[in-house]
């Protein structure tokens, strides 16, 4: 609270980014956790809530006639522009926000103050929603070849690894310790995914400390044991996800990669995925492109190309494909590492898992996968997402890329995933929002030390509750394309710009009618109809049996049913545009609707229910009007008399040929 210099500013103008003509006047509040903007106007009081932890940066712009502009970029790619009448107010808000959005201690994060109305037992229960032990046993572990080693119970061998780790049974404790000493940060090879059908595994580690010539017998034994634990195979792949040059450079620092000569029966492979710095810059460029205001086609496409983002997505995908094919088609185990084994390794292992195992294409499955490959294996969420004020060079969109790979796969295999893109976007949002405790800290140990489970809530049960929103109506688990390995195409045109994520808040850029929402509505309706049908059939049976007796009761039920029926099933929701106009990003006209979870908190109900989207009517649909004339006229307005200045070139005009 001490950081809030200015809790409330009146007469602030909120500028719609798509068209500077749409401006709302209202009051800006700064709370300990949120920026809140409440629009004036009796009938549609718009509210905008932004968590401080979602704020990426705050920029003051040059003052204009109407006041002092303040631009807020969020980690979920929302960009908000306020115009504040007084310079001092603007400055105060700026200073406060700059501090609030960069917490120095974990305790300042929202998840520690977020207090939904649930009791302790329920909160604890929320953390048991996912159970990794159950996940490993789903894979078929432990079995006669793989078991859990107790060696890291106290996080002594590797403080960034989880406590429970699967290793080949044949490996002794000294071998593990020896191997861990030969690996960066002690991250020794351990199991990530086990393929029941052919016993091939995906293992992960960090780079070996091989330097130019060093070798380690234990590490070699470790790999040998992993290979042997896949009885059908005669060799294993070691995949270094870095570009070869990077890996070579690491040798000079006493790190590096496996020498094929020292290890028996390994096939070594580089897959050039760039490092976190390259990825950070790439995404930055992509965000700039996505935020361009009315760019030309050329600007957009060139920007997209220059960002290199899709190229990186492609290389990540290709790595995943390589591994999944090795496991599923060749039946060969794979050890994956990069430098530390918590960024690219996590990406690649999880992409491969999604390709390999239909389970990870279900809602629960993706949760488990993230919990396993990312959370438990020590992806440094705090650093990568910049939860705390710290080294900006540690920030990198590694998990964004994983989510995007999944999205790209969903585009290619529309029936293969139980979830839809809203689920991915929701996860993305929560990774950054610090709303729940799951993605706080850099490792399991840190989370334990911080008592995350005692002090905060878990996101997964919450997402599970909103399951219906995340369902893909086209999901067909029994279809052939969804069984076993997915074989995506990696032709460049298969990789597309993810508009729903990067332009998530630019409502006018998205289709005005959503096939997805439409199908969801139809499916829901179908379900109702099924129930109704069952009811009628039952009643008919009863009627047939004892016509006389049941009349009164039946009449009652039928009436009530009729009322339900008279809901417009024929003209059903399906295609009247009102139903899906704003469906995706918050309901229209309240563009700023928060993620569902953010509304749960008791304190959030301060302002009462927000206006429903009922008045998202035709005018809303016709809202794309504004900018068509902008290019020729250079002005963002209708071609009305006063605003359009066309080079009127009569003979005397300046444009005379």
């Amino acid at each position: 609270m001490e950081h809030i210099r200015m809790p409330k500013v009146e007469n602030v103008r909120l500028v719609d980014r798509s068209s500077s003509r749409r401006i709302q006047v209202g009051t800006l509040y700064l709370t300990a956790t949120h920026i809140i903007f409440v629009g004036k106007g009796s009938e549609d009081r718009n509210e905008l809530w932004v968590l401080h932890s979602l704020v990426c940066n705050v920029v003051k712009h040059k003052s204009s006639q109407s006041g002092y502009p303040l631009l807020i970029h969020c980690k979920n790619f929302q960009v908000i522009q306020f115009i504040i009448p007084q310079e001092s107010d603007c400055h105060n808000v700026y200073i406060s926000l700059s501090r609030l959005s960069r917490p120095e201690k974990y305790e300042e994060l929202y998840c520690f103050s977020f207090n939904p109305n649930v009791d302790k037992a329920e909160r604890e229960h929320s953390w048991d929603f996912l159970n990794l032990k159950a996940e490993y046993s789903r894979m078929g572990l432990p079995n006669k070849l793989w078991h859990v080693t107790p060696i890291n119970r106290e996080y002594r061998v590797c403080d960034t690894y989880p406590a429970d780790l699967f290793v080949p049974k044949s490996v002794t404790l000294p071998v593990i310790v020896g191997s861990s000493k030969f690996r960066s940060r002690g991250r020794f090879p351990t199991l990530s995914y086990y393929c029941k059908e052919n016993h091939a595994t995906i293992c992960r580690s960090s780079q070996p400390l091989s330097g130019f010539s060093a070798r380690c017998l234990e590490d070699e034994q470790m790999l040998q044991a992993i290979m042997k634990s896949n009885p059908g195979s005669r060799f294993m792949y070691v995949v270094d996800t870095r570009p070869k040059l990077n890996a070579m450079a690491n040798r000079a620092a006493g790190k590096g990669y496996e020498n094929e000569d020292n290890y028996c029966n390994i096939k070594f492979q580089f897959i050039g995925i760039e490092n976190i710095h390259v990825m950070r810059n790439s995404q930055q460029k992509l965000i700039e492109v996505s935020a361009l205001r009315s760019p030309s086609m050329g600007e957009f496409l060139l920007g997209l190309e220059n960002s290199d983002w899709l190229r990186h997505i492609k290389s990540t995908m290709e790595a995943g494909i390589f591994i999944s094919k090795a496991v599923a088609e060749e039946g060969v185990s794979v050890l994956v590492h990069c430098s530390d084994g918590w960024d690219r390794t996590a990406q690649v292992c999880s992409v491969a898992s999604v390709l390999l195992d239909p389970y990870y294409r279900t809602i629960k499955g993706l949760m488990v996968l993230i919990e396993k490959d990312w959370v438990s294996f020590g992806h440094k969420f705090s650093h990568r997402c910049g939860h705390l004020d710290g080294e900006p060079k540690e920030v990198s969109p590694v998990i964004d890329q994983f989510l995007e790979c999944v999205w790209q796969l969903m585009e290619q295999f529309p029936c293969a995933f139980e979830y839809n893109e809203k689920f991915l976007i929701s996860i993305h949002n929560h990774v950054y929002s610090c709303h729940y405790g799951n993605f706080i800290c850099n490792s399991q140990k840190e989370r334990k030390d911080l008592c995350i489970k005692e002090k905060s809530h878990s996101i997964w049960p919450h997402l599970w509750e909103s399951k219906l929103d995340f369902m893909n109506p086209l999901f067909k688990p029994d279809q052939s394309q969804n069984q076993g390995l997915l074989r995506p195409s990696t032709a460049p045109y298969c990789f597309k710009y993810w508009r729903r994520l990067y332009n998530r808040f630019d409502r006018e850029l998205h289709p005005r009618q959503s096939e997805l929402d439409c199908l969801m509505t139809i499916k829901e309706e179908t379900q109702q109809l099924e129930e109704e049908l069952a009811l009628y059939e039952q009643k008919l049976a009863v009627l047939d049996k004892e016509r006389a007796k049941t009349l009164y009761m039946q009449k009652g039920v039928l009436d009530s049913k009729q009322a339900l029926w008279s809901l417009p099933l024929d003209t059903s929701l399906a295609n009247t545009p009102q139903d899906y106009i704003g469906g995706f990003i918050g309901g229209a006209p309240n563009v700023f609707t928060l993620q569902q979870g953010e509304r749960e908190s008791a304190e959030l109900s301060l302002f009462g229910d927000k206006p429903k989207s009922s008045d998202a009517d035709s005018s809303d649909q016709e809202s794309g009007v504004a900018d068509f004339s902008s290019h020729s006229s250079g002005e963002e307005s209708l071609p009305s008399e006063d605003s359009v200045k066309y080079p009127d070139s009569d003979e005397t005009g300046p444009n005379r040929a």
């Binding site: 030309s296 086609m297 050329g298 496409l301 060139l302 190309e305 290199d308 899709l310 290619q412 295999f413 529309p414 029936c415 086209l474 394309q481 074989r487 195409s489 032709a491 460049p492 045109y493 597309k496 508009r499 990067y502 850029l509 289709p511 005005r512 009618q513 959503s514 096939e515 439409c518 199908l519 139809i522 179908t526 109809l529 059939e537 008919l540 006389a548 009349l551 039946q554 009449k555 039928l558 029926w565 099933l569 024929d570 003209t571 399906a574 295609n575 545009p577 035709s618 016709e622 794309g624 068509f628 004339s629 290019h631 020729s632 071609p639 359009v644 066309y646 070139s649 003979e651 040929a657």
Partner: protein
């Protein structure tokens, strides 16, 4: 013969029948009498040409070929009517091989419908034919036809496209053993066929061919106007050359009247003649019910005022024909301003024309001014949307063209946009398709090539202009006049897209067909010229340009953004693209109504609409999500919102198995829902009935 083709390896639905040579199952069904006559004529004609012209042939068919009086008659008639065909006959003597193939193939393609799925049905049909003409030559014809339809036997069981990529497709082995062309081909070997694939290709669909030789193995790469690329591997250099030159000759026929639509006879019953579906008078009746400000003028009934306009035109009531003629003389190509669209909601109109011929000295034409002013309400102003940039419009003055001067049209505000013209669009298409066919797997290359093609920019610009026109009408309450230079390309793109945005009727199948008739065919878009070549044309483009394809692309973009507001689906648009470039129907032949009348298309060819509007065909084109939406639909034109139309440009490069399954699933979901609704409805009625039956019993 090996063939690299694309397309699904369709399952053979029937076991292979006996080879057609030698024994012919000759069943001539009586109800086909009429059909038979047609066949007999056409067939005899071909045969006669062949036997008369080529001594080589004579040897083969001497004595076996009956000289039917029908054939002779028909032939002499042909001689009178089309010199080129006779010439074709002569030509055969000279180079002996290439052309007769086409003629025969026409006969073959004739029964295309009978054999969509099973080549052996096809053969049976032809057997009938053979019997009728009693000529062994037709057996040869059968075999040629088999070559043409490329009866494929796919290798082993591989049913998937991923199996092997060549120039974008599956590898099939075609069991054709090509001998000398004169003897044509031996019977296709049918032993062990477990999977038969047919590929039908109209010669008109062939954009260009390439030949390659490795040793004695010849390869012909056939590039089609629908963007498909097929590779034929043919052992034997001579055969390969023969085939290649045949294809080349047949696919570049100059005379329209030799086009396939003139030979095509429908095997379906024409219930509703597409030629009669969209007559201008009908549309005017609708207009009359809304306003009496307009009249139908017959000023152009002999096409003398404007050769590219239809005979009936809707013009302001107060303007007489004489003024129209004067206005016509002031507009490029005589295309004076006519009504394109009447916006019921507020009575505003959209007109289209060609550029005014102001020239460098600023000519004016009072009648033209009066004509367009007649469309304005008192005190209102209108917008003139010039689809060219101001610079281009200025340049046009030097060639006698120009634009409306402010001073002479004070009630109009002019807006210039930048829609590109034909050559640039054609180049853009070529580059785009090249990018899509690029086999390198580099991301950078793809994006930069996509960008460099500029295709998406054209889409954006056209859509933006159309939205602007629609916006002026609907939001500003102003009337609009649209023109570019000739008023037959970008003008039509804009007026037709604006109507799709504004008018819900245009988003139905019928309405869209009517729109294409009205705003494209009757409005004089030169389809014949524009669609003569597609993305693989090697030569210097003359007047080819993907103007219509760009229009369809824009419609697709709107469809993507409003997936529930269109009665038709993407397939419908793709079908239109295909038929605009190559078709068995006469709809897109000719460059204007004038030419169509001269060619007697409506008598001599079948209309595309006659075929499309049959319920069996229509089914494929219906959008399951459609729910009429009476609103104006404003698409987003931001680059982020515009997508590459993969259904056309990547159609032959990507596997659509998963996408097709998704579509099927969608259809299934919706159909199941409807089925349940019906069930519930009927149960409800049943219940209600029972209830009323019961009630009297219950009343005490």
């Amino acid at each position: 013969m090996e063939l690299w083709g694309d397309g699904d390896a369709g399952e053979a639905e029937h076991p292979p029948a006996a080879p057609p040579d030698g024994e012919v199952s000759a069943v001539l069904v009586l109800e086909q009498a009429q059909v038979r006559d047609e066949l007999l004529e056409a067939g005899s004609c071909h045969l006669r040409i062949v036997s008369a012209a080529s001594p080589h042939r004579e040897r083969a068919s001497a004595g076996l070929f009956p000289e039917t009086p029908d054939a002779a008659d028909w032939m002499s008639q042909l001689n009178r009517e089309t010199r080129s065909l006779t010439h074709l006959g002569c030509h055969l003597v000279l180079d002996s091989t290439p052309r007769d193939w086409r003629l025969l193939s026409d006969v073959m393609l004739w029964s295309e419908h009978a054999a969509r799925l099973n080549p052996f049905t096809q053969l049976k049909k032809l057997s009938t034919f053979v019997r009728v003409t009693a000529s062994p030559w037709m057996e040869v014809a059968i075999k040629v036809a088999i070559l043409i339809q490329i009866c494929l036997k796919s290798v082993a069981k591989s049913n998937t496209k991923e199996w092997k990529r060549g120039s974008g497709g599956v590898r099939f082995l075609v069991p054709l053993n090509i001998m000398e062309f004169a003897e044509l081909i031996k019977t296709p070997r049918v032993d062990g066929v477990d999977n038969t694939e047919e590929l039908w290709l109209l010669h008109a669909n062939i954009d260009s061919t390439e030949k390659r030789f490795v040793g004695s193995l010849g390869t012909i790469i056939v590039k089609c106007k629908d963007l498909r690329v097929i590779q034929l591997d043919i052992p034997g250099m001579e055969e390969c050359l023969n085939i290649a030159s045949s294809i080349e000759a047949l696919s570049t026929l100059d005379s329209v009247s030799l086009m396939y639509p003139f030979f095509y006879r429908p095997l379906f019953e024409v219930i509703e003649d597409g030629w009669q579906l969209f007559v201008p008078g009908e549309a005017f009746k609708d207009l009359e019910s809304m306003t009496d400000e307009w009249r139908l003028s017959e000023v152009n009934k002999d096409f003398s005022v404007c050769p590219s306009y239809p005979s009936l035109l809707t013009v302001p009531k107060d303007i007489d024909d004489e003024s129209l003629c004067k206005a016509a003389s002031f507009r490029h190509g005589g295309r004076f301003p006519v009504l394109s669209y009447y916006h019921k909601k507020n009575g505003m109109v959209m007109m289209r024309a060609a550029q005014p011929l102001t020239g460098t000295n600023g000519r004016r034409c009072k009648e033209d001014e009066k004509l367009i002013n007649a469309t304005l309400c008192a005190g209102k102003r209108g917008y003139i949307i010039d689809t060219r940039t101001i610079a281009v419009a200025q340049q046009a003055k030097a060639r006698g063209g120009g634009f409306e001067q402010e001073a002479n049209y004070p009630q109009w505000r002019r807006i210039h946009k930048a829609i590109e013209r034909s050559n640039i669009l054609q180049e853009s298409l070529i580059k785009l398709v090249e990018a899509c066919n690029d086999q390198s797997h580099s991301m950078d290359r793809w994006l930069s090539k996509l960008e460099a093609s500029n295709w998406q920019s054209h889409v954006k610009e056209i859509l933006t202009t159309a939205c602007l026109a629609a916006q002026c009408i609907d939001r500003e309450g102003a009337s609009v006049l649209v023109h570019g230079t000739e008023g037959t390309d970008s003008t039509l793109q804009v007026t037709s897209l604006a109507q799709i945005i504004l008018d819900p009727a245009c988003r139905t199948i019928r309405g869209f067909e009517a729109l294409i008739e009205r705003e494209w065919l009757q409005a004089g878009h030169p389809f014949q010229q524009r669609c003569a070549q597609s993305a693989y044309s090697n030569g210097k483009p003359r007047s080819e340009a993907p103007v219509f394809l760009l229009f369809l692309d824009c419609v697709w973009q709107i469809l993507r953004q409003f997936p529930c507001s269109f009665q038709f689906n993407e397939n419908f648009l793709i079908m239109l693209f295909e038929h605009a470039y190559a078709s068995q129907f006469g709809t897109f032949l000719g460059n204007s109504v004038t030419e169509r009348v001269k060619l007697q298309l409506s008598q001599k060819t079948v209309s595309l609409w006659s075929w499309v509007n049959r319920p069996q065909e229509l089914e494929r084109f219906l959008n399951p999500l459609y729910e009429p939406n009476n609103l104006v639909i404003w698409p987003s034109v931001a680059p982020q919102s515009l997508l590459l139309w993969e259904g056309v440009f990547l159609r032959w490069n990507r596997s659509t198995k998963c996408l097709d399954e998704a579509y099927q699933e969608m259809v299934h979901i919706i159909e199941y829902n409807k089925e349940l609704q019906n069930k519930v409805n009927s149960l409800r009625r049943q219940l209600a009935q029972l209830e009323t039956e019961d009630s009297p019993l219950q009343t005490p």
